[in-house]
């Protein structure tokens, strides 16, 4: 198991390297002079030169990259053009709200998605299956911002049960998490259905039935744990979808998180913040997939002992 963990950890190094180059080049891809951009339109040529030296933009490109990487390790990833504060501080306060939002969305989405998937797989071609799968394809097709606005209209504006937006209490989490998780729940439902349907054709399922086990034990005991192995991998990929979705959802619900900060930064052309956010999202995504790989190894004994 330890060997497996080490192998996975080493495996992400090249991808981290490439992602860091990509992000580093990001600011350089913006048309125009980055130093002029940071210094502002009204700055004099001298000011621009000062900024250029401050940012190290006058150095050769590989030195710049090295500085960029060592800056990341020291928590120094530049300053916001808009506020002048270090980007690190800007992001830090926004991190937890987004984290908890995606976390709760993922939790309910996986539980509900699995439940629908298992019911659909065992009631194949019956009304439960049709209902579940139609619901799932609707969930995938639903624009999240529309669903969010509909939920606000019903539960916040008309019924007044839950807040319209912002983050005040646990109640604030309900509507955004439902909105954000619905797509993932739909994908998990579809995937776990097809995965479980494949598994239920396997020989050991027949062995279980031949032992006299009831369908409940066969499906939930012998089927689901095997079906979970591909589902877990896929769920990791869905996390990217969730992170992306949070950008839109946070705008709908005025959520004080990373997503809304990103949209505000794009509108303000606050490149250091955008750069840092992209790095953070990518890191988070890579990290989640690493964790998923580890869970995968835990579920699948064949990997553990190889």
């Amino acid at each position: 198991m330890l060997q497996y963990v080490v192998k996975r950890l080493i495996g992400i190094i090249p991808i981290l390297f490439l992602v860091s180059i990509f992000i580093f080049l990001f600011v350089h891809l913006i048309p125009g002079d980055p130093a002029r951009l940071v210094a502002g339109q009204d700055a004099t040529l001298q000011d621009v030169e000062v900024v250029r030296q401050e940012l190290g933009l006058d150095q050769p490109i590989h030195i710049q990259y090295f500085n960029f990487i060592s800056g990341i390790f020291q928590g120094d990833i530049g300053s916001s053009i808009k506020t002048g504060r270090p980007v690190f501080n800007e992001i830090a306060s926004r991190f937890m709200p987004t984290f908890w939002l995606t976390f709760w969305s993922m939790i309910w989405a996986v539980i509900v998605g699995l439940l629908i998937g298992v019911i659909s797989a065992t009631k194949r071609n019956k009304w439960q299956d049709y209902l579940g799968m139609f619901g799932a394809v609707s969930g995938i097709s639903m624009p999240s911002f529309w669903l969010g606005l509909l939920l606000i209209q019903v539960f916040a504006v008309q019924l007044g049960w839950l807040p319209v937006g912002g983050l005040e209490s646990w109640k604030s989490y309900v509507l955004p998490s439902i909105t954000l998780g619905s797509g993932v729940a739909a994908v998990v439902a579809r995937f776990s259905r097809s995965s479980l349907m494949d598994i239920l054709k396997d020989d050991y399922i027949r062995t279980g039935r031949a032992k006299g086990l009831n369908e409940h034990k066969v499906v939930w005991g012998h089927g689901l744990k095997n079906a979970m192995i591909p589902v877990v991998t896929m769920t990791g990929l869905q996390f990217g979808f969730l992170l992306g979705g949070s950008i839109v959802i946070e705008t709908v619900f005025s959520w004080p998180g990373l997503g809304r900060l990103l949209i505000d930064s794009v509108a303000f052309r606050d490149y250091p913040v955008i750069q840092a956010e992209m790095l953070l999202f990518a890191l988070e995504f890579i990290l989640i997939n690493l964790i998923v790989d580890l869970i995968y190894g835990f579920l699948n004994p064949q990997i553990r002992y190889d």
Binding site: P143, F145, L150, Q153, L262
Partner: protein, 301 residues
């Protein structure tokens, strides 16, 4: 692995089907596709959307951009089926005229991504070695960013606007197609007839286009249809965020965004454009599901 019994029965059944007269792949496809009711209905709906795209401005009862300050924020009525927005514009007409934008953006961006991705995938599968690992590593990097984040990053560089939305969505479709095409091209490449053609000394380019590409066509078609739904959704999201179509363009996502301020008093302003997006994406997804089941049962979602 399937039970030996079921496998046995499957071979028995397939032996039976060998006996059936061979018909052309298109009639065979149509015979199977017809059985997928939901996909058929969706196909008809998509066709309807295409017709609306062509004749949109002629069908629409009102102008899309002309304000009418007398009839501001009115609910549904016989005059205005989906009500009017804050400028008194007929929402139903705007949705009809906006169909063109969503379909165009969705199709073109997936098409661009598919063309580049397919070429990369074929090249990757055919040449293998360092070319393959280089292309696949690039795809890995692009995959490390959630789709919409990548699009936002690209728009941050290029600036907001529909054209840039198309570019951004194309780019994040590239790795998707590259991987799928590479996968199925590798399995086609392993088949005997490609080996045989190679041994007679066929040129590489000819080999790729005449022999490997046709083998990957069905997975490309299925993936293409499925991605259009996602592309339309992403484009609408970007416009909703103010990064795509700018007012007064009747883009569905942008219309929704404009209606947000009147959510409590006039929910219809956001409701109908959202419904249009939902139904369109749903139709493409159901159509894609149906195509997948008929053309390529191996691909799982």
């Amino acid at each position: 692995m399937a039970n030996p019994q079921t496998a046995e029965i499957a071979t028995e059944l397939s032996k039976g089907s060998e006996n059936v007269k061979k018909s052309s792949p298109i009639t065979e496809f149509w015979k199977k596709f017809k059985k997928q009711r939901l996909a058929m209905v969706s196909g008809i709906f998509v066709l309807l959307l295409v017709i609306i795209t062509i004749f949109g401005p002629a069908i629409a009862p009102y102008s899309a951009e002309e304000p009418d300050y007398v009839n501001v924020l009115q609910g549904s009525s016989w005059d205005h089926l989906a009500g009017t927005d804050a400028f008194g514009r007929d929402i139903f007409s705007r949705i009809i005229i906006g169909t063109r934008i969503s379909l165009f953006v969705g199709t073109i961006s997936v098409l661009l991504g598919a063309v580049v991705g397919t070429i990369l995938g074929l090249v990757s599968a055919f040449y293998g070695k360092w070319v393959d690992s280089f292309i696949m590593r690039i795809c890995d990097v692009l995959f490390a960013f959630p789709g919409i984040l990548l699009a936002i990053g690209i728009i941050a560089i290029l600036g907001p606007g529909l054209g840039n939305v198309i570019i951004a969505i194309s780019i994040f479709n590239i790795p998707n197609f590259a991987r799928i095409v590479r996968g199925s091209a590798l399995s086609v490449k392993a088949t005997v007839y490609v080996e045989a053609t190679k041994s007679i000394g066929a040129k590489n380019r000819r080999l790729i286009w005449k022999h490997i590409f046709p083998g990957t066509a069905s997975s490309i078609i299925v993936n293409f249809t499925m991605r259009i739904g996602t592309a339309i959704l992403t484009a609408a999201s970007l416009s909703f965020l103010g990064l795509g179509a700018q007012p007064p363009t009747p883009e569905w996502g942008a219309m929704l965004s404009n209606g947000r301020d009147y959510l409590s008093t006039s929910p219809h302003v956001t409701f109908y454009p959202g419904l249009a997006i939902f139904l369109t994406v749903l139709a493409f997804n159901l159509l894609g599901d149906g195509l997948r089941d008929t053309l390529d049962p191996k691909i799982k979602d």
